[in-house]
Symmetry: C2
Subunit: 244 residues, 2 copies
């Protein structure tokens, strides 16, 4: 099938997936470029491939060929790639393994970076508070380098999720810039979760009150705080057990 009109109803439906509202309504999201499309395909999340007509690229999945103006219409990039994938959100697995919890993270680049580092350091589950940036936002997906397909993603109310984790034996580490114990002094636990707070304001008081212990990263006192993506990555690097 070749579609050449941006007014084609199917194209209009796909374009709507640029907004969080429609991604949530339909359980679908978009990825752009060969690397991300292949990652989606490998993990069984790719439903439909949108391909610039004439591109030499094949996957065993429903494919729609489009003209350049249709591709540009769907793409969020200044320089569109010749392939875009329509993916379905994974059915959420149970939380397991090492867990990182994000309380109201807002920057898509930070979230993508944290997902990438989580996979690197053997964190199996990422929990996002309902008010966090949408994990299926295209900037998050690009910053994650497609690694969001390799991690359990749970989105919900932290005042329900954290007590549940505690009842399952998880130790909950909150993070503050200076309060608590240096991460270097923490003995590794089998089951634990690390909570990172909002870029400007840290963890909310309600979330803070649910922590078992607070940890920080040693640093020079001229630096008030680290970028949240960096701080999360260093904590996961220190505490993530190596599986390989």
């Amino acid at each position: 099938m070749l579609i050449s009109s941006v007014d084609n109803p199917k194209i209009k439906e796909i374009k709507k997936l640029q907004t969080r509202k429609f991604r949530e309504k339909n359980g679908l999201f978009l990825v752009e470029g060969e690397h991300l499309v292949r990652e989606a395909y490998k993990t069984g999340c790719l439903d439909t491939l949108i391909l610039l007509d004439g591109t030499d690229f094949n996957l065993d999945v429903s494919t729609i060929n489009v003209t350049e103006n249709v591709l540009k219409n769907i793409s969020e990039l200044d320089t569109p790639q010749p392939m875009i994938g329509v993916c379905h959100k994974k059915t959420l697995n149970e939380k397991n393994g090492n867990v990182i919890i994000l309380d109201n993270i807002q920057d898509p680049g930070n979230l993508g970076t944290i997902i990438r580092s989580a996979v690197a350091f053997n964190f199996d589950t990422i929990v996002l508070s309902n008010n966090s940036v949408d994990v299926y936002n295209s900037k998050v997906i690009r910053a994650s380098q497609g690694l969001l397909f390799n991690i359990n993603i749970v989105i919900g109310d932290l005042s329900i999720i954290i007590p549940k984790l505690k009842s399952e034996g998880y130790k909950i580490y909150g993070t503050k810039v200076t309060d608590g114990k240096s991460v270097k002094s923490i003995a590794k636990k089998t089951s634990f979760a690390i909570i990172m707070g909002n870029e400007g304001n840290g963890m909310s008081d309600a979330v803070s009150s649910m922590c078992d212990e607070f940890i920080y990263i040693d640093m020079d006192n001229r630096c008030e705080s680290l970028n949240v993506g960096v701080a999360a990555s260093i904590l996961m690097y220190e505490l993530g057990s190596k599986k390989v």
Copy 2:
């Protein structure tokens, strides 16, 4: 002095500092918002304060009051802050202490994050190849949280700077995703420099050939690489000696 016209010659000169070309020509750059203006003032880099007329803010420095439309004209932010600082670039100190070298880093957010982490982990000098993103770009300054005022910045030709560091007894660590030694196994040296490469392509071959040793960060093999700001931060966290 109150300036209300965007055609005022002084305002036109200041606005030109939004471009790298004029920042380099004049040795000046802009910072926006109270935090960054105060950081510039504290380190003696603030030449002129541009202040929205009527704002209750005082620093012992040449001040120009402006109307809102002039402020908006100079600002690069969607929501301008009431104060903007015109700063001069610091005379470069000699390279000293722990050094981080960036070979063709392009993303302003990554560079700002690396500067922030460098100060946190006691790196005194940051060296940038000539083809790197401009360190005085407003996005870099914001991402650095103003910490660029706390570090020696050297911009130049790495094929001259690296051999000079070596002749001064610096050990030069290159970074590759898997080649070399795990950073965990590296004994700390008194004088060393870590080189981080470009976001997509890593270090150039010419720079690679000047390294004494290569180091990497242990991670799960599902993750091909970390964000360069995260990788630099973890390496500095591991190797930076604590001064506090």
